[in-house]
């Protein structure tokens, strides 16, 4: 390379330790330190196309055959709109709660040694592994007005099972591991020195957490949020048991789609799915942008 013969730039303003992967160069030049760019990119695109894009575009193709009027009628009915509100609202609420408590769980697992820590650590993954129907039935029997928890809530006038709150509880349950598992490794990597530095500079504990730790963890918290949210949007198995599935009240979008399918209304089902897809894609894109913005200065 020509630059071999150029003087080495002096240390100073130009020094830059940010690693930049030579993606574009690798694509063009015949010799690269990271060979196989063409092959791996080709494979990636083919794989994503086959696994993600083809099934999804089928939904779009199906709805493409509908007239605008039919499409709006299919997705705009008040029953469908209520389902959208419930699905997006409950998923957002559940993901928000999971960010807070998932962070707490990750914090405790990383920072403090305690007996049974490994067991607790393993417990976090349980919602991943449990068949969602099992989770739904278990939650329903717990929160029903004669269940272990529901019987204490009923006298207070709080009903969880077969209400909006039940949907929220189920979505919180299945979303927790996503936040814990994305935050935990980042928290583990964080040098304890930066907190000590904050302490020697006179920062209170709260200031160290809010000004140093949380900004450092923001990208991973957002990732955890996005994953938990996306999972909650698509969740079906656990919700159908606890929600009661009353139209206009506790009917989630995935259930509505199944209902349409059972009525042989394939176009209606795909129309609802397309709206769901586009809006979740936009939301996830927004979260990704936020995340990019928050890690801009971290140079990771």
């Amino acid at each position: 390379m020509a630059s071999t013969f150029e003087p080495i730039p002096a240390r100073g303003p130009r020094a830059d330790s940010v690693t930049r992967f030579p993606v574009m160069t690798a694509a063009r030049s015949s010799r690269s330190i990271l060979p196989g760019f063409g092959l791996s990119l080709g494979f990636t695109l083919a794989y994503l196309g086959l696994i993600v894009l083809v099934p999804l575009s089928a939904a779009f193709l199906k709805t493409a055959g509908m007239s605008a009027h039919d499409f709006l009628a299919a997705v705009g009915s008040s029953r469908v709109m209520a389902a959208y509100r419930l699905s997006f609202g409950a998923s957002l609420a559940a993901a928000s709660v999971n960010v807070v408590f998932g962070f707490l769980v990750a914090w405790v697992l990383v920072r403090y040694p305690f007996p049974g820590k490994r067991l607790v650590d393993a417990l976090v993954d349980l919602p991943f592994a449990l068949p969602t129907a099992v989770a739904g039935i278990a939650l329903t029997s717990l929160y029903a007005s004669n269940g272990w928890i529901g019987r204490w809530l009923a006298p207070l006038g709080v009903k969880v099972a077969f209400t909006w709150a039940g949907v929220f509880v189920a979505l919180t349950f299945i979303g927790l591991p996503f936040v814990v598992r994305t935050v935990q490794p980042v928290l583990q990597e964080l040098e304890p020195e930066i907190e000590e530095a904050a302490a020697t500079l006179g920062a209170s504990r709260w200031q160290a957490v809010s000004r140093i730790l949380l900004p450092e963890l923001a990208p991973s918290l957002l990732t955890g949020f996005a994953l938990a949210f996306a999972r909650a949007l698509g969740e079906y198995g656990s919700v159908v048991f606890i929600a009661g599935n009353m139209p206009m009240k506790t009917e989630i979008v995935p259930l509505l789609i199944i209902t349409k399918l059972e009525q042989y209304d394939y176009r209606g089902a795909t129309a609802i799915a397309v709206v769901m897809l586009v809006s979740s894609f936009l939301l996830l894109l927004l979260i990704n942008l936020l995340q990019k913005w928050s890690r801009r200065s971290l140079a990771i």
């Binding site: 240390r11 100073g12 303003p13 020094a15 830059d16 330790s17 940010v18 040098e191 020195e193 930066i194 000590e196 530095a197 904050a198 302490a199 020697t200 500079l201 006179g202 920062a203 209170s204 200031q207 000004r211 140093i212 900004p215 450092e216 200065s297 971290l298 140079a299």
Partner: protein, 350 residues
């Protein structure tokens, strides 16, 4: 502000990091805590900073005569610089330096204009003005370390503590930066303690060197004192090259009353540059030795010679002109004379 530590003990589980250590740093001095890894020097520094606390009931830490043992780090008015900088990655250089001022309570917090002025003055002091808007990831190691220093100074500490400040830098930057630190200290006269395992670094810039080993202080003194009059074999060996020889081996070289009394077990310590070589043919005193190896790259020539009588190998350092005058080659015979040697039973000088 002077720093005193009395009888500090610290254990981590079964490991004793500090075993009754005393330290006394006069105000305005630049003091090096020097020792091999695991000697307890960093733990001592962290206890002085308030990042670690001595074992209950053991010792006290005093700043300017006031007991600060139970004060948390944030209230001791210390500036601490970490080996790996510990900069806040999500903040610009400016915000890093301003952090200590921004977290103050509303009453003590300077105005934004005052903060900005002080940050820029500090960045000028560490020669980084103009990089205020950068992020730590865009700086070189030496620059990051100076940002860390400016950040520590922003809170107007009474004491500056540096933990292996140059340890993570490459050799040349390290040398530049440590001279810079010395000049810097001469300007601001802030009581400073820095931890290092590099004896050259400690001897070059410190007013006083505290040599630690295995949780204890071995010796305290000016660089010249500890180098010329090491208190014990450990210090002797830790500070620079040394030949450890059995005393009788050189009995022929230097017989003095008192030396013989040392007995056969006595060992003497000789620096390579305190040995003189003369041609064997010249006769005179000195033990006969065979030149085994000559390493003549660099400012000095290093020779490995083997004493004929004891077969002990000795490293000798002479100037290259001396080597030329001597005119020896590998396997030639020479005579050894000691200009200066130490034994820790009795002074041994020639």
């Amino acid at each position: 502000m002077s720093i005193e530590a009395h009888n500090i003990r610290k254990r981590f589980g079964l490991f004793t990091a500090l075993d009754g250590v005393d330290l006394n740093v006069p105000a305005g001095k630049l003091v090096a805590l020097l020792g091999p890894s695991g000697s307890g020097k960093t733990t001592l520094l962290r206890i002085i900073a308030g990042l670690e606390f001595p074992d209950p009931g053991s010792g006290r830490v005093l700043f300017h005569g006031d007991d600060v043992t139970d004060l948390p780090a944030g209230r001791r008015k210390v500036g601490f610089v970490f080996q790996h900088y510990a900069l806040f990655r999500h903040m610009s250089v400016f915000e890093n330096v301003a952090f200590g001022l921004r977290v103050r309570g509303r009453r003590e917090r300077p105005s934004d204009a005052a903060i900005s002025e002080r940050v820029h003055r500090l960045l000028e002091l560490v020669q980084l003005d103009g990089l205020a808007g950068r992020y730590p990831s865009q700086l070189s190691g030496g620059q990051r370390q100076r940002v860390a220093l400016a950040r520590a100074l922003a809170v107007e500490p009474k004491v500056l503590l540096l933990d292996e400040p140059f340890g993570a830098l490459d050799a040349r930057v390290r040398k530049d930066l440590r001279r810079w630190l010395r000049r810097f200290h001469d300007e601001i006269h802030l009581t400073t303690i820095f931890v290092t395992h590099d004896q050259e670094e400690a001897l070059e810039i410190a007013d006083e060197v505290v040599i630690m080993n295995q949780a204890r202080v071995e010796q305290v003194g000016t660089p010249q004192q500890v180098y010329d009059r090491p208190a014990n074999p450990f210090v002797y060996q830790f500070l620079g090259n040394v030949n450890v020889m059995r005393a009788p081996a050189l009995a022929g070289a230097a017989r003095r009353p008192g030396v013989a009394a040392e007995g056969a077990e006595g060992q003497i310590y000789v620096r390579p540059h305190d040995i003189e070589l003369t041609p064997h043919a010249s006769g005179g005193s000195g033990a006969a030795a065979i030149v085994r190896h000559i390493h003549a790259a660099g400012p000095h020539a290093r020779l490995i010679v083997e004493q004929v009588e004891t077969r002990e190998q000795v490293e000798v350092e002479i100037s290259r002109s001396e080597l030329a005058a001597l005119g020896v080659r590998v396997s030639d015979l020479v005579r050894l004379r000691l200009r200066q040697a130490h034994s820790f039973e009795e002074d041994y000088a020639i």
